[in-house]
Symmetry: C2
Subunit: 200 residues, 2 copies
DNA sequence: AATAAAAGTGAACGATCGTTCGCGTTTTGC
DNA sequence: GCAAAACGCGAACGATCGTTCACTTTTATT
């Protein structure tokens, strides 16, 4: 079972860090939320900072295997409608997967004091989505679904507004439905601007 | 002189909060950075939390008078080039004015635990710029400088990528020059897409 | 110049922080 | 079935937290 407790600690730490930040979290409350004595924690991690670093290791590794490798690039849609579908599916996942939401919150809070959090924040908030959609848009241009243009610029223009609304969801989850609708509306507007109508 | 010290405390607190966050900041270090005894602070503020709340009051009030009222809306440019100029001037100010930078950093770090910080963060990061450019783009459409389209959608599409790059500057100031160049490139691309060429 | 109010200070307080210790219990490897 | 390692726990430690206190110095008022 290779230390099931360790995983529970990491899960609880991610949750608490994402609510109160690293400095605002204390070990007593963290271990208490697991129904565990304060000191038992130290059988699994030698310090609070090691919990943080392990968590960050996981976040970096997860991001790398999920979005870092070329084989995980999404398929190029066969129609402009397919772009919307793909976008909404992706957004829905990223907004409702609690672990991903908590990761973004933690990165937002700790990006200014931890170098690795800073680097990962830039990937999560900016370059990751842009790189992904640069690939998608290149493919769509080759298929004649999008106007010929700089695919990276288009990807940046497409993903930034979506990213901004995802951040809004993280901050004010009660607005998630509205934000999703706005993302879809923006997506349609983007297609209206850059898409090439199917003849027929 | 109405308590010059109080202002210095608030300035130092903003700086420290923006580096270490509220929970990560302690009163000793804060007063120490002002060459002041630990306890003197309490002649001006009755608690650490009151410093925080006063700071937030200031940030909210400053934002309201700076961006909240209709008379502070920027003039509508007379050309598409004018839009770029105005944009770059505004971005330059917001990226290099230390107080504004520190405000954004604090809001990024505290948005999840303080309701007022959360509300102000949404204004700073999303709705503020969008509202401003909704006005600008409406005016530019009326002048025949921009394609007829939903001005709010265009403002959202225009400001979100800029906002994302401003956040990058906050996080990695050494990339500020590159980011400014990217903003300008994006701005030109936006004009190429939505602008109406001047005949002649 | 006298006096009251305001501002500054070092010492100290109680609470809480991360962490360690000693000891009992459970699980593992042979 | 037994030794050893791993795990869990409450008590306690030293450091640090926000804050208060008793007291001195500065500033403002008349």
């Amino acid at each position: 079972m290779a230390s099931d407790t360790k995983e529970k600690i990491l899960a609880a730490a991610l949750e608490m860090f994402s609510q109160k930040g690293y400095a605002g979290t204390n070990i007593r409350e963290l271990s208490g939320s697991l129904g565990m004595g304060k000191s038992s924690m130290y059988r699994h991690f030698e310090s609070k900072e090691e919990i943080w670093n392990t968590l960050l290791d996981r976040m970096i590794a997860y991001y790398g295997e999920r979005f870092g490798s070329a084989e995980h690039l999404p398929p190029v849609p066969d129609s402009t409608d397919g772009l919307i579908t793909m976008t909404m599916r992706m957004v829905d996942l990223t907004v409702h997967d609690e672990k991903i939401v908590m990761t973004r919150k933690v990165l937002a809070m700790e990006q200014f004091r931890d170098e690795r959090a800073k680097a990962l924040a830039t990937k999560h908030f900016l370059t990751g989505l842009t790189e992904m959609f640069t690939h998608v848009f290149s493919g769509m241009m080759a298929k004649g679904l999008l106007r010929e243009d700089d695919p990276e610029m288009l990807a940046f223009a497409y993903t930034s507004p979506i990213s901004a609304l995802i951040h809004l969801c993280d901050r004010e989850p009660e607005k998630a439905e509205d934000a999703m609708a706005e993302i879809e509306a923006f997506s349609w507007h983007f297609i209206k601007t850059y898409g090439i109508r199917n003849h027929g």
